[in-house]
Symmetry: C2
Subunit: 371 residues, 2 copies
């Protein structure tokens, strides 16, 4: 950001801001950005395209001689992926000042029982709980926010359209479930005397799929991405099982109904298998977000001006924009990605498509800056 | 072993032998021993009781003035548990000269793709493949082998009997299964386009239980002790799943029928879920072992001489004795353990019961030494 001429600051949780002052610097700025963290074994486009793309858009505007009225800011959000603490969008949640978020962070531990505060301290972020209030921005702190991102779905590529403009972001719910049984030696404990936490977990993973498929809508998706057994040895009956489940929909009520059914199944399975349902935690259950009309419009005009075909679409993936929507009108620009693959090593977006996306972003920022 | 006055040697794979020379040193020795390795989060009695117990038995015989005719040897077997390479009883398999075992070891890798040979080298055991032939003992190398061990089941405790004498060891089969799908983002990939390796694994774990219960015998047990998902993130559809399955029975044919059914289910599930069944490996499928009559008899006489009630029983857990049975008549002495718990941190056997077991072992060794 510095080499692009931006003045850089960082907040207490690790969000990084790079600012290009406009001539009307006292008015609310226009922001653009995304994240650069990734889940294990993921690709290098998810998030990164939106951070480097925003820096590049500003670099191009600057070198073209453009003079912004409203200031332009690049935001690199911290910890968008829920990799370590099961909490997605740490940075943007904090910026949006989510109610009760400090309490959530205080309880958050990783699989090694390291608390969020300890981990933050190790990384050089001290007193992150105490300073979190200061991280939160007021509603209206920005005039608009726009995020460039790969689609993470197959639609744009399939339809041969280079630009997607997002009008709404689907609502994700994240669950953590723990079962506990007696374990024991795989040879010595006869079947009737077992209460196998691993088999309870297997049943619950299949129940998630069943309830999602029963929702009646293609837009409902559910995934058991984490299923860990303890002690995890071939000759030991699983004594503990830990699941992390993600359920999403563009319809909040329909999604919450699935969450409720999963919870009922979790209890039933525990009773049938005589294991303890130690935990059933709804880590988050965020409402969906709708884009700001004026931001969508600016992006649509930018695409048209560039002669790039665009499609208005819904984002089923989780983004920092979901939280930025709480404090400012937002929109997202999607570019196609290979087969819709994401969160995989072979995630890929072509240079041509990324360049197209950056151009749309640059023109959108310019237009919004003058508004 | 040294402080008990034994002369100690180690073989190329890490089995450790401590010898007390008898007056008829040229005749085959009597051996006793077990292992001291453990699975993660296990107790401190499984195996350890049989190693320390054998040393103590010899110490007591020596201090009582007993003069052995046949030499007495304590064996501490290496790597009885299949923790790292999914291969149980590495040390005793090697001693028993299992056919094809070198080839199995050459293919063995741990979850970090470290080969057995590399791991052995790191631990100071060089050229373990090359030297494995020398580790193998000839049939008849020992006159008898007897292993003291906690029961790892609830029978002795429940019935209030201090000593179990094992007449047969159940036959274990170990399977490794890998499923592979396309993975993808948990939000973006709609349900009909998924092939979730984790759900395939969940179905297979439940199928193992189903086939085991359908065997018609209480003696059939099956466990999916390992189920790992990759990449293992809440917002990522599992692209790979790795299972390790243990199936045991005292009836070899009935067990092998369950293994076959599990294999059929593994294929069916792969087809239904459009995932690849990358691997279905039968890591081992060992035949059961029967104790040597003369060794059982010596143990029974020892228990009677001590006024300790005993019970002839079957071992459903895997032991080094299973492999020692291939080269020498063997038997096992069981002592009760708390609630039958094993492979858990709260595994426990009382001092009184262990002392009883060691006494039976000492008298059995004395009797066999004079035979
Ligand atoms: Mn992501
Ligand atoms: Mn992202
Ligand atoms: Mn064991
Ligand atoms: Mn053992």
């Amino acid at each position: 950001m510095k080499s692009a001429g931006l003045s850089v600051r960082e907040d207490a949780i690790g969000n990084i801001f790079g600012r290009w002052d406009g001539s009307e610097n006292s008015r609310e700025a226009i922001a653009s950005g995304s994240h650069i963290d990734a889940i294990p074994y993921a690709g290098k486009y998810d998030g990164v395209v939106g951070v480097l793309g925003a820096i590049e858009a500003i670099r191009v505007l600057r070198s073209s001689g453009f003079k912004p009225r409203r200031s332009l800011e690049v935001i690199m959000f911290t910890s968008e992926e829920p990799t370590r603490f099961g909490l997605g969008c740490l940075g943007s949640r904090a910026l949006a000042g989510q109610a009760g978020f400090v309490d959530v962070l205080k309880k958050a531990i990783d699989i090694h029982n390291i608390s969020f505060a300890e981990a933050a301290k190790t990384a050089g972020y001290f007193e992150v709980h105490e300073k979190l209030e200061k991280v939160a921005l007021l509603k209206g702190a920005y005039s608009a926010f726009i995020e460039l991102h790969i689609e993470q779905g197959p639609t744009l590529e399939k339809e041969g359209i280079p630009v997607g403009i997002v009008t709404a972001i689907a609502a994700p719910a994240s669950l953590k479930v723990e079962y506990k049984g007696n374990g024991g030696h795989a040879g010595a404990v006869l079947m009737p005397f077992r209460n196998d936490a691993g088999l309870a977990a297997a049943e619950l993973a299949l129940a998630v799929e069943e309830h999602v498929l029963a929702s009646g809508s293609l837009d409902t998706v559910g995934t058991t991405g984490v299923l860990e057994l303890h002690p995890g040895a071939i000759n030991s009956i699983p004594r503990e099982a830990h699941l992390e489940i993600d359920i999403r929909d563009i319809d909040e009520k329909r999604r919450d109904m699935v969450v409720e059914k999963v919870q009922q199944s979790a209890s039933k399975i525990a009773i049938n298998r005589r294991v303890q349902l130690e935990n059933f935690i709804i880590v988050n259950q965020d409402p969906p977000a709708h884009s700001g009309e004026e931001v969508v419009e600016a992006a649509v005009l930018a695409a048209q001006q560039l002669g790039l075909q665009h499609k208005l679409m819904i984002s089923r993936a989780y983004h920092d924009s979901l939280f930025m929507a709480r404090i400012t009108p937002m929109a997202m620009i999607f570019v196609p990605c290979y087969r819709g693959y994401s969160h995989r090593l072979d995630e890929y977006a072509s240079e041509e498509d990324i360049v197209g996306g950056v151009k749309v972003l640059a023109l959108t920022l310019a237009r919004l800056s003058l508004s």
